[in-house]
Symmetry: C2
Subunit: 207 residues, 2 copies
DNA sequence: GAACCAAGTTGACGACGGTCAATCTCAAGG
DNA sequence: CCTTGAGATTGACCGTCGTCAACTTGGTTC
């Protein structure tokens, strides 16, 4: 916290900050994958965002001076660059454009959220899952011949929390996607024929 | 567009700006009610936001220099203060803090969106409708004895677009709320026993 | 008043999702 | 080897929602 910047290594499953904590600064993801999850009073939770390298987390609490609304946890081994609160405030004051770039992150988050609200209203759960898998495939997947495959960075429960369904329903959605021939699953290993990209018309616009 | 500021009167149903248009500046709602609606390729639409007096609309396109993602339409007779693009840019450049205040609007929008995403994931449609009606009642309603009543500023289709269901389902939700004794409906006139505020436990936290 | 149109409602039907309970899998530990 | 426990799956049941179609309502126009 004394020095302005510091690096931190997180293993998969480790916590970056807790929901309800006050802001200690902003965090930049150097490598890995961070999940921002909102816990509810009833014990359930919703996965609000996946933060990839280059993205910034914790800026909402930094800008608004309110407690974190989500917890941040590494899904994969991750390297995080931490900018302490004082340093961040100093840089934002001294360097023009910094605030504007942060505002741009906010706009991105707004667009992301609006897309998700619309998707929740207009698409079926199966379509939303197929969409999500395509996006994950684009990031985590590797192509082998006519197939793309990846190791899912998310458990079934995380997928369920992201789509907004129960784990049982997630199992059924996975089964239905497999029956449709769009994907095939083996635990966290997922394979997708390249043809599937064309099969799901709405997905392209969302990429 | 020449002068920096101008007032504009909109009747209910009139358009403030169209989806896909380039930004011409920012708009401040002086009185009335503005609906921000996103139209989709399939002809359907989603009501993204209701903007009340004191709120600002069109700032996303202004800040990002991208076309409006929504159309803005008056639901009630409204008075709008328009700040042209050049003026807004000049003010933002000259007056420190303006950008920060705009960023605060963005944070509010993010919080609103996140609440809505969580509500969509965790609440039933009936609960979401009851929640929405309570909020509208708090703004548009007047108390008479043990009841609060209002004239809905929204059609059933608008309500459906806001909750994310079909009009037929909205009819059934309304009927079920009436059977539960939480509300009573006569066209756009809605009445609610004050006791209903306590009846719906989750609603309080969302107010 | 008759004709008309949009908004809203109702019914029937099938598909989907939440819930509860039982089972399965797999990896870690004794 | 057996036990344990968490994650994941499956089946059964029921309530809800989307869809299509028919109908009602209310307001506007001629």
């Amino acid at each position: 916290m004394q020095r302005g910047f510091s690096r931190r290594i997180l293993e998969g499953g480790q916590l970056l900050f807790k929901q309800g904590e006050a802001s200690h600064g902003v965090y930049c993801v150097s490598s890995g994958l961070i999940a921002l999850r909102c816990h509810h009073e009833d014990g359930s939770s919703t996965l609000m965002r996946l933060a990839y390298p280059g993205e910034i987390v914790g800026y909402r609490s930094f800008l608004s001076n309110l407690p974190h609304q989500t917890e941040a946890r590494a899904l994969l081994p991750s390297r995080i660059c931490t900018v302490s609160k004082q340093t961040a405030e100093r840089v934002a004051g001294e360097t023009p454009g910094t605030l504007g770039r942060l505002a741009n992150r906010c706009l991105k988050e707004i667009d992301r959220s609006h897309e998700r609200i619309i998707a929740a209203a207009k698409l079926t759960n199966k379509e939303r899952l197929a969409d999500l898998l395509c996006r994950l495939m684009a990031i985590h997947g590797g192509q082998q011949g006519a197939e793309i495959s990846m190791r899912l960075p998310l458990s079934r429960m995380d997928l369920a929390d992201l789509i907004g369904v129960q784990p049982e329903t997630m199992s059924r959605l996975v089964k239905r996607l497999e029956e449709d021939g769009l994907f095939s699953f083996a635990g966290r290993e997922v394979r997708m024929p390249v043809a599937s990209l064309q099969e799901a018309p709405e997905l392209n616009s969302l990429g």
